[in-house]
Subunit: 302 residues, 2 copies
């Protein structure tokens, strides 16, 4: 079945203690698409500037992305620059140049309106709502957001939360959104806002799934070497949604299918920090994936 | 079989945003003893001052502790005072008054030298070594330590690490001890120093077990209400060692028995923050324990 993602397709300049990479492929929709590993077609809705390299779009197309929804607008592509601290977790944003993304108005091609799975990556909640309005009847809608929207656009955010099935946030965002310190309370408060499943991403500490009648904690796979963690959260979402789509899940599915998809998200995300940009993802194959899934299960099952 | 613990028996003054408790029972050996839940006798070696209340010693005795090794010395008992931040994780130490603990020289009663299980709680590594030297042939030796000893007494610490089977540390201590940022690297480096099993405690994020040939990640049980987290790490150790002793484990046991004991440590520790001092622990019973074990397994098994 088809997954539609709306989000950023961008260039990132990333600096770590070891290396600096300029204007490498980034953006939530890019990571998401490649992370879905061609399990199902990923229809990408986004915008790039006239500086965007043809080979970067081609890369998405070569890895299961349908790029017909990526508009090319006059101007510069969205560009983010950041520097990671030595711990490879904390980072400072050095620049956020929105470029053509500032006036982004997502346009979903007519023939994509029937997509079964919708991932609203982290963009302005009104744009997320606009996309959701246009869709026919998706089986499952997942949404990511961030502190910026929680703080600056709480009302449109609350409005769209009432219409989505799965919310992905990190732990500090869950607390900010609800004012609850306890993640258990925060998850329950979010579920009361709409999404019946809440996924709390905790970076190196893994992720929590709060479902209809169960909670699952999935550890992050312990990596020997972290090269560039940018995009790991979007890769998690890509792996998760890819697995849900392949399983034919919908908003009424049992927790079990979501719990398994949490593992797929985790395994997928684990490849991301092992390379700059999407390089870590591109190096994986089915064997590496299966080996890591078995390693993850070994870390989880007493 | 018998477990011997050497550590502090103390008074804690704890302040949270809701309440302040003065000179309540605390100390690593106290928490450890009650956390072992009378699974096996816990022989306590420690020192208290002449201000120590008889009923507090009696409490330990009533809950499986043999207090014959707790010396009473002239002077004040060890007293720690701290204030928790609103997040109930960060805390400021307001006072550390060593009192009689400053000159503590652990004396293991002759008839306890054959104890099979030894837990060297967080005290000066030379005192830990002194106790270990005196023991006949424990089946399993576990050790806890802290940043203070890592920084100020690295040599005696390294010396005793070469002689223990299980090290319990928190994540920042594991990194400080090894200079490794990655916990996988840090655990391997610690294993090279001696302990074949390394347990990394991560507070609200749970704990990691690095065994002979496996890694297990155990989440913390998500609590609705945190009253006072003081002592949770020692409760973890008590639950773990109690389970290992009941299973008859030794240093050559398979990872499986340690993996199960990690769950016992986690379940035990989860009761601690639900009350001040040892009150949370004292409120539990077998049914509550079993219910929480089943909740933990539900959080872990996909």
């Amino acid at each position: 079945m088809a997954i539609l993602v709306v989000g950023s397709v961008a260039y990132d300049t990333v600096e770590t203690s070891r290396e600096r990479r300029e204007r490498q492929l980034g953006g939530s929709a890019s990571y998401f698409t490649i992370a879905a590993r061609g399990r199902d077609q990923v229809r990408c809705v986004g915008v790039v500037g006239d500086d965007f390299r043809a080979e970067d779009l081609q890369l998405l197309a070569d890895h299961g992305g349908d790029i017909a929804g990526i508009e090319k607008a006059p101007g510069r592509s969205f560009h983010w620059a950041g520097r990671y601290h030595a711990d490879m977790i904390e980072r400072d944003t050095l620049a956020t140049e929105l470029g053509v993304f500032a006036d982004f108005e997502p346009k979903v091609p007519q023939e994509w309106l029937d997509s079964e799975y919708l991932f609203l990556a982290n963009i302005h909640p009104s744009l997320q709502a606009h996309v959701l309005d246009s869709m026919h009847a998706p089986k499952l809608v997942a949404l990511d957001t961030m502190n910026l929207w929680i703080e600056t656009t709480p009302e449109p955010l609350r409005a769209i939360l009432g219409r989505v099935d799965v919310l992905l946030v990190n732990d500090s965002e869950a607390r900010m959104l609800t004012g609850e310190r306890s993640l258990a309370h925060a998850a329950r408060a979010i579920q009361a806002m709409g999404p019946s499943r809440v996924i709390v991403k905790k970076g190196e500490h893994g992720a929590l799934y709060f479902g209809r009648d169960s909670v699952l904690s999935v550890p992050a796979i312990i990596l020997d070497d972290v090269v560039d963690p940018t995009g790991a959260g979007d890769c998690f979402a890509g792996g998760l949604m890819g697995a849900l789509s392949q399983a034919g899940a919908d908003r009424d599915s049992e927790d079990a299918v979501f719990r398994q998809a949490m593992l797929d998200g985790t395994v997928t995300a684990s490849f991301c920090p092992e390379g700059f940009s999407v390089e870590g993802l591109l190096r994986t194959d089915d064997d590496a994936y299966a080996a890591r899934m078995s390693r993850l299960r070994g870390m989880m099952i007493p």
